[in-house]
Symmetry: C2
């Protein structure tokens, strides 16, 4: 708890009004006053400042409720821009995003063997180009989502194995270079914030995103806030054991969730199928087992390959184990599956829901909705942008 | 977000000062002003009100810092009383507690075969006696911790299997009878709040209590607040599967954590040992296998029975599985074991820590401290009291 000063109260109320227009607009000043319990005078004064700042505009008139029709206010979604970056293991993606999460300009670069300084240089290259592209518009800052452990408060990448970064003060480096606010989160955490801010469903303030791609992790939003954990490692469920004496994992333990649910696991399983079965439909979509990609798997799955169905079922089984753990611990009613593995859709959801139901308290499992994210491959970019929206404007 | 009115600001600041005196007292007005960033005048005015209300008193002088020595303020810990109740499966415990969690008067009644209205009558009987015993002192209300699913907001017991309560509006019933504020939480959730408020360690605002007795559940405090979950079922990890195709559980699923870690599980295991081994030390402490209790187990364990060591190790193993799940999901750095099973102390902690380390990300596990609660059998009573402290005074 902190004491409330006049300036804090004003900032608080300005954010409250901005958020109300963002969430409920187009909206009249009277309606804002009603929703926020602020006086009409306060609303009018602060709206005037927001309009002067270009963040809000009058866009027309609402239906009259007896008197003259009320003027409707709306957020100017292109009045500010945000840069979101997804420093994933296989490629870096970066984009300029507007206040509604619409992507204006997106860059994708393979990372391949880049690491250390070379990987950092690629971050600079992408940011340079995007910052230059936004010239003339107001840039709120740069948000970054990256696999591995972050210290979100200090903007330090504690450890990103694939990029060979250890205790890299990425936040400070970028802030010094661009003189802009920089926010960094783990990619799964960013994905959860994206889902909360820009996702299809708006009900509830708690949700978990299970991001399943090359890496596997969860992002947890509780009470509308990202839960980072004491060491910013909340959601690192990809490295929790789900198979007794299972396969060795890159983390040093055995049988981690990641070893039996990641895209790499699915590709390896598919390769084994292709090698052992000369009639596998996978041969129609890949020249050789080692050429199999997630695209091949999707094509073969859509062609109805039953062997692939079994692989998806296995992955779903273990994601259901993870979902049951989350339901038991957190009792969140919404679990969203994202990442490349989510592209298998309902076929993946079915085993997840089935396992969740028989591995956690029935009442709680029944009340939990599991769904596929509709934010697609840009989810981490959008989450990185949502970090900025949340910190800089109090939106999200 | 809500707008801040003058009255809200005053309430906020009063609570802030009370909390500062509670946490940091004895303390001078100047020091309160420094810690809270409130002006000295505001502090003096609000302290005067708190003193008039009997909640705060001047208790002497601190060391001079040049001028005249500052008057020190302290909370009057007996200025208010709280009633805490633990409606456990085997017995109801209820007590009058002061503001520091000191138990003044405690009642314990066996529940045995009571259920439905008879169980409710026992709650009334205990509360009647305790309310009467506090006559003349100011009672803040009644807090209740009980196994099963609660709707903490509405004070409704959604389901308490052993008491045969379903959708019982316990909060409303007690409020009507006593005209006092009533707060209800699940027993594990209450235990977590007790540990947070009255426990040995004061560092950090996140912790998990694993309460392991007849029932098994977790209570989760995040950011200093109890996390209830969307359906108030957060922490119901006792009914998450940890053994594939394990033993049937009363919840309808198989292999739940509770089936391999509860006190009943330990007693059944000990009974099997006693039945199969005529030389078991258990025979020294119980007349017959069916007479074995947790007390017998503790006595045999203290006498060094190796078979019992193996049972404790097994229980610890599965609690370690649960701990790894919690570390992965939440990255809390403090996990506290409470409940009757916690009485096995270090022998139980060792396998928990071992399993946690090899079943979750090493960096996170290493940073997580697992410890035994020192609040003993009163932990739920204290947690129920802490619910009141938190809601009524903003303490905790």
């Amino acid at each position: 708890m902190k004491k409330a000063t006049q300036q804090q109260t004003k900032t608080h109320n300005t954010r409250l009004i901005t958020k109300t227009i963002y969430d409920a607009g187009p909206i009249s000043r009277a309606e804002i006053a009603r929703l926020t319990h602020l006086t009409r005078t306060t609303v009018s004064d602060l709206v005037a400042e927001l309009m002067e700042d270009g963040l809000v505009e009058e866009i027309g008139y609402g239906p009259s409720e007896g008197g003259k029709p009320p003027t409707l206010l709306s957020l100017v979604e292109d009045s500010r821009h945000l840069i979101g970056m997804d420093l994933a293991n296989s490629q870096f993606r970066a984009a300029v995003v507007n206040l509604r999460g619409r992507i204006q300009h997106c860059l994708v670069r393979p990372v391949d063997d880049l690491d250390g300084q070379a990987a950092l240089d690629l971050v600079y290259e992408l940011a340079d180009e995007l910052v230059a592209s936004t010239e003339g518009s107001r840039l709120l800052g740069i948000g970054i989502g990256t696999p591995g452990l972050m210290d979100a408060r200090r903007g330090v990448v504690r450890r990103a194995v694939n990029l060979d970064w250890q205790d890299l003060p990425l936040g400070d480096l970028l802030e010094a270079r661009y003189n802009l606010p920089i926010y960094i989160a783990n990619d799964s955490q960013a994905a959860a914030l994206a889902e909360y801010t820009f996702g299809a469903s708006k009900d509830g303030s708690n949700l978990v995103v299970l991001k399943v791609g090359r890496g596997v992790g969860a992002g947890i939003v509780l009470g509308g806030q990202l839960h980072y954990g004491d060491g910013f490692g909340a959601g690192e469920i990809g490295h929790v054991t789900v198979v007794e004496d299972g396969q060795a994992c890159r983390c040093g333990n055995r049988g981690c969730l990641e070893t039996v649910t990641s895209s790499q696991f699915m590709i390896r399983r598919a390769q084994a199928i292709a090698q052992s079965d000369p009639h596998s439909s996978l041969h129609r979509f890949a020249l050789a087992p080692e050429k199999i990609t997630m695209e091949t798997l999707l094509a073969a799955f859509e062609a109805g390959d039953p062997a692939l169905g079994a692989v998806i079922d296995e992955v779903g089984h273990y994601l259901g184990v993870a979902a049951a753990n989350l339901v038991g611990a957190l009792n969140v009613r919404r679990i969203v599956i994202a990442g490349s593995v989510a592209r298998f859709g309902p076929a993946l959801l079915e085993p997840i829901v089935r396992e969740m139901a028989c591995r956690s308290l029935q009442t709680l499992a029944e009340e939990t909705r599991v769904e596929i994210s509709d934010l697609g491959p840009d989810i981490v970019i959008l989450g990185a942008a949502a970090l900025l929206l949340s910190h800089e404007l109090g939106l999200s």
